[in-house]
Symmetry: D2
Subunit: 284 residues, 4 copies
């Protein structure tokens, strides 16, 4: 038996649910779970199906071809199909902050994240010992004003060699160049340490402190070419008061960052995210 996930979006029309679930049935598949959403403003239909098929690679290939011809074309669908059992390959980019890295590797070690981590990449050597203690390859690629293009080339080669499916920026603190972003559309997850769109850019905790907010936050989002403007996957907040200084904001924020980033990673791994119109549909 093979578990397969279908992610579909297309202009909204009558009968899509029936058509798709019926087609799966006709191909001897069983729709285990269906979730659906219609954005009425945009007239767009979204669906996530979990299906079970007999484990026959050839039949699945045939299924794909038939689905494209007999269903997807008629509805002008954008669709993707995933093997639910196959672990996606995730690269982690870090800089000097260790809390998100510790959190991700701890969750991975205890079986919480259904993912492979072939490589950790950093512009500094500081976190190598952590990677070592979890037995994950660590690659130090320095980034400076002068070696931008060279670093990007090294990054992209390394990601390609490691067959990386998606990338997590675990407080990487470097701007990803547009060409890099374009090669991993909706596949680079960043954690920003504010409740966006408040306090984009650098030093958001300092700005939040200065503004005197009573709530701070963290935002997990896909990286686009516009800094901190990509589709938001998850947000979380914590209360603060006058008794907290910037350092307290940073400490409280660390917990938010860990929780939000790990949730965003999970949604991505479980194929629960559909991106449309710079927003996300999360079938959680």
């Amino acid at each position: 038996m093979r578990n397969v996930i279908l992610l579909i979006n297309c202009p909204d029309k009558k009968g899509i649910v029936a058509t798709v679930t019926n087609f799966v049935l006709s191909k001897k598949g069983n729709t285990v779970y269906v979730e659906q959403h219609v954005d009425r403003e945009l007239g767009e239909f979204f669906m996530r199906l979990e299906c079970e098929f007999d484990d026959d690679e050839e039949k699945l290939t045939i299924f794909k071809e038939s689905f494209t011809k007999e269903v997807a074309k008629n509805y002008n669908m954008h669709w993707e199909m995933y093997n639910a059992e196959k672990k996606p390959r995730m690269a982690i980019f870090v800089s000097k902050y260790d809390h998100c890295l510790y959190d991700i590797l701890g969750r991975h070690a205890s079986g919480e994240l259904h993912v492979k981590i072939p490589i950790i990449i950093s512009n500094h050597e500081d976190l190598k010992p952590i990677a070592d203690s979890f037995n994950i390859p660590f690659k130090h690629i320095p980034v400076s004003k002068d070696n931008g293009q060279q670093a990007e080339n090294e990054h992209l080669k390394l990601l390609k060699d490691s067959k990386i499916d998606f990338i997590v920026l675990a407080r990487y603190m470097q701007i990803i160049p547009p060409n890099f972003v374009n090669q991993y559309p909706n596949r680079i997850i960043n954690i920003h340490h504010s409740f966006l769109p408040a306090f984009p850019g650098a030093k958001p905790y300092h700005s939040a402190y200065k503004r005197g907010v009573k709530i701070i936050g963290a935002t997990g989002h896909y990286v686009t070419s516009e800094l901190d403007e990509g589709p938001i996957i998850e947000q979380e907040i914590a209360r603060v008061s006058h008794i907290h200084n910037v350092q307290d904001f940073i400490l409280k924020g660390r917990d938010l960052e860990k929780i939000v980033l790990s949730k965003a990673i999970k949604y991505h791994i479980e194929r629960k995210v559909l991106v449309y119109s710079n927003k996300t549909v999360i079938f959680s």
Copy 2:
């Protein structure tokens, strides 16, 4: 065009989603929205469909008959069908506390609740002026140790005469007798002022204060014959600390009660609640 809501549960089996959505399509209906859940532990399947049909009462009657024969029987379904446009009729029971009543009537007045309120019933006269100011009939039925059966009879007659679909206990503070409960199964919504199962019964804020909890809560649930043991629809909490005394708990709790009760009412009105095994599936 008529909007119809189908609520279905049955033992989990292959192909239910396809079968049902296909059946709707075959009867010229359009499945606008489908939500689904499988409780794997209990092997039970749950589904909520919003469908559009041509507005033809006769055809809908035929649909119902066909669905029973051709679908529901085969899958051993428990199912219900609602006209989404028809406002259900809700009775409110109150005692002396006014905050939940104010909240419900205020929301109703501003169009937030798609419901009719033919009657407010109380064992005291205190809140009659509020009912009057919102132009809703108010019926005072005193309840004492000695007139239990008589009061129950009056209640049930009044509810029947007013064609009440479901009942909201807005801090009614009286125990509903089993016979009454049995006539409105999963149709009596109570607000309990604690996060159940902590602090069931009387004076939960006092008990919470005594125990020194750091969080208080409120619970909206269906009434069953077991006091405060019915299926939970919604819960919400608020933080407290040593600076708060019982009176502060009560004040903070009032806001929780209002919000939780109004959410529970909305879920019920919108036919988003399925009850099974003393728990709720909320398709929110």
Copy 3:
């Protein structure tokens, strides 16, 4: 016995707490409650004292004079003294939205707000019936592009005649002119329907929807001459997801607005707010 509240701030220095509490004691007062905060970055000291004195108006006047001469001067204090039992006089400005008004008047009616409400002012007549039902004078002062100065004059006269201590903008939807603001510094409380500084200005729910946030909020703040830039008193948030449209945001936001505004009002009434450097210290 008379309860008095002292609010003090001054440059931080050794021995302030001892000096002040000692001074109160020397004047036959009893410090019932003291709360204190030091902003180390700004080197500013903040204190709130609740004291009990014998009920002798003359002695209190003497206390004030002595405190100024013997304590406040030495420490370069900014300080205020309030009679805790005297209800402050609050004006409410509304436009067409009724939910915050209902909420405030409901809380007032049930004794939750220790305040007098001599007047409700609006640029529309829509909410007059609500004011009437709570027996509170309602004054309709239309505001247009052309009558700005005249409306402001009427507002200020009305507030003066009603001896108003502070003003609540309960979704008033009009910008308060600088001259008006200056006459009530840190005495005009506004509710803004976003978690500032995200989405200042008009239609924040629409902007939040467009940005695809997963959390919406509301902010209670003092009005300054900079729109939505005043000191934040309280903030609260609610989770949203792709299933919610702008209308859902607005509905969820209404509950946030009510709760945040009523909390901000309470903090102000109970003299728990100290403003400094465009931020608030809330002794809650």
Copy 4:
């Protein structure tokens, strides 16, 4: 300069704040921070002072003696004095669950917890590698039905030898015998995986799932001889719905447990907790 923390509680009386802060001043100390609470129901006064003194061990000893004679006795105070710079010594008890241990050691490694960890004790060997990777001594003391007294003796000797100030049960899963508890009153912090008093005892996530709650929680509390009945230090909650099974509850709960336990530890380390009448005053 030496920073000192005073924790005081006594029957409420006039003038305590002035007396204490004045006394500190008279001994050339500077009260940097004072927090105070009065439980009016119990008539009990609580205070936490942070003071600065010249760094002179002898003078502090004299201060203590004078304070006892001249202040504490008159007010019938229970009081403690701590050197704020001295790191308390914390023992961690674990069993097989690793998430809380990882969390505590990670926070400790990054400087978040002002504490020494001389020893980790466990009834199983599973988590020794984690202790090793953080270079903290790990002692395996098996516990069975038959060796209860012997294990207790070993525990107590080890704690004494390591000069342990307080103990953290990081999901230790064993009941601490009364004699052990009595030797560390209000010095053993446990994390219970429910919002107490709901679901005390074993398998709370299973019970919560069975009851169909919409909110789960975790509770950090001091251990007393009554199981899960000790004074609550901190609680936190997470929302769940019908889509979550017991395993999801457990996963979500892990994050709660980590956050609640680390907060409880911090409050304890920073001497912010006063226990009275089986409740806590947290000066946070």
